[in-house]
């Protein structure tokens, strides 16, 4: 236990100094220590102080995972933290890192396009609906989701600098990749042609060369003489009759009718 305490102090020091490598080694040692003390998944009747320390360690672990860009590890830390956040919520004093971490989890779900999970998680937050707007950590991902869904991509783009905590920015890049693809698919459907300059601004690119590589990826025609992007119109989708499905359905009806008569 004394050993654990020393490690914990060490971890806090190196976490504040942002020494990621040292944090990593300390965290794995601490986790073993927590398991031995029966605190990783609290069992029996541990004291409150121990629980708070265990929660602290896991929270540092979660933030550390984001800083080292290890999303699966964040996922693991987050599920371990769930016990502390839900089951012990009435016993433990609230942690100031709780909502940033919950918010990070929401952003993570958003970037992985797990919208259903996003909403389930949002629904189970121990917050009344009007408090969500007042909580910057939570309202940020909530707004992102709303804008993504209705198509206000420029708002998403502008919000990327307004992250409430540093760690949110880690997800910004992958989020931008997602929305760029979204915008691109919208443009394909909505425009016949688009000036190259406007396309660059619409897709939030800084210069034309980035735009050109992106256009190549998507297989767009670029007319350099008039500097426009031309979107190949997909011809009327040839309507195919789903024969097999219809036959199977008709056979099934025949069988059922046979049973009835």
């Amino acid at each position: 236990m004394a050993n654990l305490k020393a490690l914990y102090d060490d971890l806090q020091r190196s976490f504040n100094a942002n020494d990621l490598k040292k944090c990593g080694t300390l965290l794995s040692q601490l986790k073993i220590g927590l398991i031995e003390a029966g605190l990783l998944i609290p069992q029996g009747d541990p004291s409150l102080d121990d629980l708070i320390i265990a929660r602290d360690i896991l929270e540092i672990g979660a933030i550390w995972s984001i800083r080292t860009r290890d999303v699966p590890s964040f996922d693991r830390y987050f599920s371990q933290l769930q016990t502390f956040y839900t089951d012990y919520s009435s016993l433990l004093p609230p942690s100031k890192r709780e909502y940033p971490i919950r918010g990070l989890n929401l952003v993570r779900l958003l970037t992985q396009n797990r919208i259903a999970d996003f909403h389930t998680t949002l629904e189970s937050l121990p917050l009344p609906a009007d408090a969500i707007a007042d909580n910057p950590y939570i309202s940020h991902p909530v707004n992102l989701e709303r804008w993504l869904m209705e198509g206000s991509y420029s708002k998403v783009w502008n919000a990327r600098e307004e992250a409430p905590v540093e760690e949110y920015k880690f997800f910004v890049d992958s989020l931008m990749g997602t929305i760029r693809n979204e915008i691109a698919s919208c443009e394909e459907a909505a425009y016949e042609s688009l000036p190259l300059k406007d396309a660059t601004t619409l897709l939030f690119f800084n210069n034309q060369s980035e735009m050109l590589t992106f256009a190549k990826q998507r297989g767009w025609q670029v007319d350099l003489s008039t500097s426009t992007v031309i979107f190949a119109k997909k011809g009327e989708e040839n309507m195919e009759v789903p024969k097999e499905k219809l036959i199977a359905a008709s056979l099934a009806y025949a069988r059922e009718l046979e049973q009835i008569v």
Partner: protein, 520 residues
């Protein structure tokens, strides 16, 4: 909270099944209902018969009268019934009596009741005037159920803390007792008892505490193939999860358990309602829609359980809106729903006209209502639907409209936003049209360009409907109940029919000849 009124649905079930009940039931005169005491005593007889003949039907019949009976009992009636049913020096009797209040000194009323009770109770002819043998344990638990309901009623919906702690004690003791007895003939009563247990904990405000108890009981029930209890307990657990917004756990519970198919309508209606809730949160609106529809169909008529009916419809309206449909106008004119759904009606109007400002206004005006109904987050998701409807309306009425006008009409923040939003709407197939960026307008190809005719989606819709009808038919066939040994009679009939057929054949043969003769 929907469940509070749900209790009344048992009454409905009683009415529902009345027609197919057998003639024996007529010993209960319908015109003037028997006194509570007499009813309890008849019920006891029924339970005993159920146990001795291993026929749970009788127990179900007793339980059907529960909610009506519950409203009429009081200390005196319960005390009298316990005194009459249990033998003098029974241990169970004294423990049951200890849960009731102290005996009133004189009970003149009781005497009246008693005389009429013995008259109607002796009608079946099975009831000895003074019991000597201990009644079956099911009777004991039945009394405990009645007493628990009675104590809850006395507690004034949880206002009286003393009564509540007493109820909790009784609940715990009885649960242990039921567990120790482990009798299959007890199952239907046990299922009902769990409901009362949940109600107790909920009134105390500590539903989470009862969860481990429900979970272990559910496990036991599943192992014993105790369908009644299982169905009841799964609903208890779902309710307790949803009360704490633990949708993940609830979803896992649903995927790990199979809801017994033999469960009664009240339980099924509840189960489908909870499923619909979970599915709606998970954005699986079409499944949610099916579940809620099932729930509405299975639910008792609106007048009997208005609370449940309203709760399901609230969610149903929201889910329908999320699916992009506009709910039926008649729902909002229904006498039971009209008042309760007024906030939702305004939301529907906002969505239908596609007015974002009206939507926001309504949302903030009724925010507390939606939060109480736990539909607030679902309704905020409707924002995008409002925008989509707005764009669709614009695309139908204009053939050319500038992005700036769209922005003004839909109350969007900037032209830039409008361009992205319209682009997305075109991609999602909400409207047909194209954007011309250089000129800053949207060209709509109008209604003529939309796909018409019998595409594969039409076949799909038809397929789904036909499938539903066939399933309904098959279910009804399965649900039919045939009288026992009726096939014997049919066999005899068949033999007779064969006889007749033979005669007929003979006659025809003879007749044929005659006819032919006549013809010639």
């Amino acid at each position: 909270m929907p469940d509070i009124d749900m209790k009344d649905k048992k009454e409905e079930e009683k009415k529902d099944k009345k027609p197919d009940e057998e003639d024996k039931d007529k010993e209960e005169p319908k015109k003037e209902p028997p006194t509570p005491l007499a009813e309890i005593k008849t019920n006891v007889v029924h339970i005993e018969r159920a146990v001795s003949t291993i026929e749970p039907r009788f127990t179900h019949r007793v339980l059907r009268t529960l909610s009506a009976l519950r409203k009429r009992i009081d200390d005196g009636v319960l005390r009298g019934a316990v005194e009459d049913v249990f033998p003098k020096d029974s241990q169970n009797k004294s423990s049951l009596l200890s849960w009731l209040g102290p005996a009133p000194p004189s009970q003149p009323q009781e005497m009246d009741v008693d005389s009429s009770a013995s008259a109607s109770a002796s009608a079946p002819g099975t009831k000895p005037p003074t019991p000597t043998a201990e009644p079956v344990p099911e009777v004991d638990v039945y009394f405990r159920l009645l007493i628990l309901h009675h104590i809850l009623k006395q507690s004034n919906n949880g206002a009286d803390k003393d009564k509540l702690s007493k109820a909790k004690e009784l609940a715990q003791e009885t649960v242990q007792k039921m567990h120790a007895l482990n009798r299959r003939s007890m199952d239907p009563i046990a299922a009902r008892f769990w409901f009362a247990v949940e109600r107790t904990y909920e009134l105390i405000g500590d539903l989470a505490e009862a969860r481990p108890m429900f979970l272990s009981a559910q496990r036991t029930a599943a192992l014993r193939h105790d369908d009644d209890t299982q169905a009841s307990l799964i609903n208890r657990l779902l309710r307790s999860y949803l009360a704490y917004s633990l949708y993940d756990q609830a979803d896992k519970l649903v995927s790990k358990t199979t809801f017994p198919a033999s469960a009664g309508n009240p339980q099924l209606a509840r189960y489908h309602y909870y499923l619909g809730r979970i599915k709606a949160v998970q954005l699986n609106y079409s499944d949610a829609h099916t579940n809620l529809q099932q729930s509405i169909r299975r639910a008792p008529p609106a007048k009997v359980a208005p609370g449940f009916y309203q709760a399901v419809h609230k969610l149903f309206v929201v889910v329908e809106l999320l699916m992009g449909d506009i709910p039926d106008r008649s729902i909002f004119r229904h006498p039971v729903l009209e008042k309760a759904l007024i906030g939702y009606f305004e939301i529907v109007k906002a969505v239908r006209t596609g007015s974002l400002s009206q939507f926001q206004q309504t949302l903030s005006k009724h925010a507390s209502l939606f939060q109480a109904d736990k539909t607030h987050t679902l309704i905020t998701r409707l924002r995008q639907n409002v925008i989509k409807t707005g764009i669709r309306r614009l695309s139908l009425s204009y053939s050319l409209i500038s992005l700036k006008d769209i922005c003004v009409k839909l109350h969007l923040d900037s032209e830039e936003d409008a361009e992205y939003i319209v682009g997305k709407a075109i991609r999602d197939g909400v409207i047909e049209g194209k954007l011309v960026h250089e000129k800053g307008w949207m060209e709509c190809s109008g209604a003529g360009g939309t796909k018409r005719g019998y595409g594969p989606e039409v076949a799909d819709v038809f397929g789904r409907r036909i499938g539903y009808c066939l399933e309904l038919h098959n279910e009804s066939v399965k649900a039919m109940r045939y009288p026992l040994n009726a096939h014997r009679k049919e066999l005899a009939d068949a033999a007779g029919a064969r006889e007749r057929e033979k005669e007929l054949v003979k006659e025809i043969q003879e007749g044929d000849l005659d006819d032919e003769d006549g013809d010639f």
